[in-house]
Symmetry: C2
Subunit: 650 residues, 2 copies
């Protein structure tokens, strides 16, 4: 059988199964799936170097389905190939047609959108919130490049989806990094959900844009097996140079069955009583193409062999990372003298030092930053380990998704930018969490004490946002996000180390301002821990970060008036609140939380923990939109959360 005939037959078979799966599920996007029938067939049965029996193999090529709603076509091919599914190798088994037909069932691991952690290891990251897959592919590809591995990362993107700005961030990143091992494939089927795509997303305009962005572009008929193969063959030539290849494939939404084509077929499965008609149309298409769809014989297509050998991923659990003692770590970046002199050190500097110490301790550590590395102090890592640093420029969405890709490639990526700008990528963060990505995010200039630049640079809702994930289990049964807010260089150094040793997403806030050391160099910190800094009988002040220092000042003032305050450094979320509630009871039954962010952080954490106890709780927090002030103290006073306000509250 010719290559064309074999591809056509297989494309029809997997299109048919995609329809049947979505009909069984009662929801899904069969017409989008059908538009990818040939592309997916050529990729999965011919082009990609991979092994259906070992989808975890870190040496194989990968397919990233950015337009996640098209996933039934991948499931169909994978079931046909008997690809292994399961949450781990131990649980692995070959996917069957029955698995495919369980699509979207609550008990099934064949989920509505791609997610490796639900049990479909062919994928590397959760996709489905559009525009993110290409960044994931780029992150994986950048790691493969530094490892010298010959792996390709094929990424399928919808034409409508290419309206998302993140796609263009990813394309810039790919060109910057000369990642010719990423192949963006645009599925130009011309139909979006509620309308035809804009002329700005037509295949002609896409070709022009991609060329302007620096790609070599192949504009093909996405239902012509020979054209697809030819376009992919170009890779061999393209990969000799620095410019990456992009493919714009003209396709038909609902290819193979006229009744599935045109407007209004986006998220609508075929009704059961229409299946026979669709079948007939597919059979007719088969006849037109001169193939026999029902032929049970082998596919005549050959999956390409894996040609490279990657080191096995080392899980965090297997190899704890231990960094240099504090003084040594700070010495790596010249901060040791300040430490020795007892000078205040900004936690963002301690982060930079810890990152360098981590880099020295373990080669899995990589770092990413968005053109603020001289503010976050990721630049120290960039200088020491340039091959393990990815400058993402001013494009936070791409950074977070690329980090998810790097994590999927076995690395432990540390991302940094201003905490305010992490916000730009909250959807990407959530998708990374859903996919179980082992990413570490540090947002600098947290809270209001950066002062002069004003609220456009201040993170105010980040605590509420990240805390919401702190009481959620991910698919591995772990806490979905671990949150940290260190108040001094010692705790920041140690918490950064701790983040590297925790599996899953961590978020840390660092400060612009210098803060005094509160801890001795050998102090230890826990994932859900806190520290009792003072014990007093009259009240308990609970805080973290900059405001903790304000609480200590307030406690000193109170002491002058004969009042004894307990003070707790609540540097982590979720928090082992039980002990804090007991301490509050011993501290006059009065608890005051002090934060320089909007509500939803420590106030919510402790109010929920204190419910039913009768403890009096007062929360000091930012209650109005801040503004610029030349000094941190100006802003704290303006907002009514400084020492004076703490004294007023107690």
């Amino acid at each position: 059988m010719s290559f064309e005939a074999a591809v056509n037959r297989k494309a029809l078979q997997i299109a048919k199964l995609s329809i049947e799966m979505t009909t069984a599920a009662g929801s899904g996007h069969p017409s989008t799936a059908m538009s990818l029938a040939h592309l997916v067939t050529v990729l999965m049965y011919h082009q990609m170097r991979w092994d259906p029996k070992d989808p975890w193999n870190p040496s194989c090529d990968r397919l990233i389905l950015s337009e996640g709603h098209a996933v039934p076509i991948i499931y169909a091919a994978y079931a046909d190939l008997g690809g292994v599914i399961g949450k781990s190798k131990a649980e692995g088994r070959a996917m069957t047609r029955e698995d495919a037909m369980s699509l979207r069932e609550i008990g099934s691991i064949i989920d509505g959108h791609p997610n490796p952690k639900v049990g479909f290891p062919f994928f590397d990251a959760a996709t489905g919130s559009l525009g993110q897959g290409l960044s994931v592919a780029a992150g994986m590809a950048a790691i493969a490049r530094t490892q010298g591995l010959d792996r390709n990362f094929y990424c399928i993107i919808g034409d409508g989806e290419s309206r998302e700005g993140q796609i263009w961030e990813a394309l810039d990143f790919i060109v910057d990094q000369e990642l010719t091992n990423v192949i963006p494939i645009f599925n130009a089927n011309e139909l979006a959900q509620s309308d035809w795509v804009s002329p700005q997303q037509s295949h002609r305009t896409l070709v022009k844009k991609l060329e302007a962005f620096g790609f070599i572009v192949s504009d093909i008929d996405g239902h012509d097996p020979a054209e697809i193969r030819l376009a992919l063959d170009e890779l061999k030539v393209v990969q000799n140079g620095p410019r990456p290849l992009a493919i714009v494939a003209r396709t038909i939404k609902g290819w193979g069955a006229a009744a599935e084509q045109g407007m209004g077929k986006h998220g609508t499965p075929v009704k059961k009583d229409k299946l026979a008609q669709i079948d007939q149309e597919l059979e007719q298409t088969a006849r037109d193409l001169g193939v026999n769809m029902g032929d049970a014989a082998g596919s005549d297509l050959q999956i390409a062999a894996i040609t490279t050998k990657a080191p096995a991923h080392i899980s965090t659990a297997q190899k704890p990372i231990k960094i240099a003692p504090l003084a040594e770590g700070l010495a790596l970046v010249g901060l040791d003298k300040e430490l020795a002199a007892g000078k205040p050190i900004a936690t963002r500097r301690a982060y930079g030092a810890a990152l360098v110490a981590l880099g020295a301790a373990d080669e899995r550590i990589v770092a990413l930053d968005c053109d603020v590395k001289n503010s976050t102090f990721a630049e120290w890592f960039a200088k020491k380990f340039p091959a393990r640093f990815l400058e993402c420029r001013i494009a936070e969405q791409n950074m977070i998704s690329a980090a998810a890709g790097a994590a999927a490639a076995g690395k432990i990526p540390f991302c940094s930018t201003f905490a305010k700008f992490v916000m730009r990528a909250y959807d990407q963060v959530e998708m990374a969490i859903n996919g179980g990505a082992n990413i570490k995010i540090t947002g600098s200039h947290a809270g209001v004490t950066l002062a002069a630049d004003g609220p456009s640079q201040m993170s105010l809702s980040d605590v509420a946002f990240f805390r919401s994930y702190c009481h959620v289990k991910n698919y591995n049964g772990q806490t979905a996000v671990r949150y940290f807010f260190p108040s001094d260089a010692v705790s920041c150094y140690r918490l950064t180390e701790l983040m590297a040793n925790l599996d899953g997403c961590c978020y840390q806030r660092t400060l612009r301002a210098d803060t005094k050391a509160l801890y001795k160099a050998d102090e230890t910190f826990e994932a859900d821990g806190y520290k009792v800094l003072r014990e007093g009988k009259d009240m308990l002040l609970v805080s973290a970060g900059y405001m903790l220092h304000e609480c200590l000042k307030a406690a000193d003032e109170l002491a002058k008036n004969g009042k004894k305050a307990s003070v707790v450094d609540a540097y982590a979320l979720p928090l082992k609140s039980h002990g804090i509630i007991e301490l509050a009871a011993r501290s006059g039954g009065r608890l005051v939380t002090v934060e320089d962010n909007y509500t939803g952080g420590l106030d919510a954490e402790l109010a929920l923990a204190a419910a039913g106890t009768g403890l009096k709780l007062k929360s000091l927090r930012v209650g109005q939109i801040p503004k610029s002030g030349r000094e941190p103290q100006d802003v704290l006073d303006y907002l009514g959360i400084g020492v004076k306000a703490i004294l007023g509250a107690v």
Copy 2:
């Protein structure tokens, strides 16, 4: 004096003041400001049709400074022109040099980054978190276009900033809408914060990209007055056709003083003891250009006259919007029969109906959606009022910022997409809040009951995120965000009407699933209200949206066993919690919150309100990442938050 000489002299004068302001502030970005000296001079003293004495004039051209950190150059020009500052016309006064020198002081309205609400009405929106200004400009321009007003919107974007994907979303939108009244001006000074810009953001690549996106591009020397004027003159020709003009201006960061040029000068003001040296360098530049910088004579430049007449903005307070009674409103979209028959109606449909009724009641209502209008039901509005509907395609960031622009143009924009995808634009939402934008956001398919598509389409942290703004006052002294979560068609219809009548940002969640009516057609709802649906002595269940119906079912089950539960519909945040706490006390002192989102919503709201009371509080919420299930009930049971779980909890 020639035009060139006049521009050069003025450019030097405002560059000098920019330096002095930032030195006085002790922070800021003088070198970026200097790179814009000529562009800002030609725009503000020559090209723009505006009136420094009436910056609120809705007929004038506008300047949107997307790279907000360059703002000192605008302040300097504005002070020189004696432009009016103040939070309102009543408070307005001419800006002085002293005002400029108060930059970033806590008591000053000359803030670190642009914000009209702090008191600088020359601007229309808060900028400074990069990449957002062009969308704001596009939103304003789209409104001017529908109003038939001859207004231009000049938007200055940094070259480094153009890495942000949102810029490319905005460019697509501008071309789609043929907004030749927006003029994106790229400040190609080649230096970003921590490094030179990538070749992907070089002026050459920017020109290529802009052409591929459909722009007529003018590539100019941004320090040559004649070239700038010539490029802007092109507008007269360009505006006869559909393709917009973009300008790529090659500039020098730190123009005018060599000591301010090159790397490492980004966010660093000139030290006081270096001011004299910088002054000498500026004087030397003046001599080289043949102008006398100190010349106090008039500028020889003439601000262009305003040529169009816009209707005055009508404030919400002045003109309450009243929509049709429910049955009439539903009849507008053919839903009246379902209402009459007592059939369940999804709140997203009621939203669509209310939007149409609002559109009929008031022409200020405009709507925006991101290619899911057939799911959010914004499509009903799009069909009835096509001239007031902006299809933003799959680009949520641009939608939110464009809505902020539409609000600045006096409209009441309603944005809709899946609640999950609103997340894509949380940073844009916050900037809109900071700028006091009167925007209304409705996120559909909220919570977990969309079921089959899985968590990539579920909003889970949105309640915690938006709640954090519900206890914050904006610069107008109003609650920064009003949050609503209606449970039936009646309340959704009325809350949508209420949103139109509240000034500032509102966020509403709607449901995919149909829900039964809980209220009569004439029921009324308040911004911080709740409804007591049942009163019982044994416990209080508090919920909203879909889960409220589960609570009612649970209350029925409990009644069978002789237990009486109170049930409250807490459809709003912030919530007048006091009455709920009292009700809980009367209901056996037991309060259960029931939500299908992550923690940080009703649980936090009521735990804080109940603190100190001794009430027992239990919160049911989503405690693990959900997955696909074919029916809502499957997912609720999987997550342990369905009726069974409620019964278990009480």
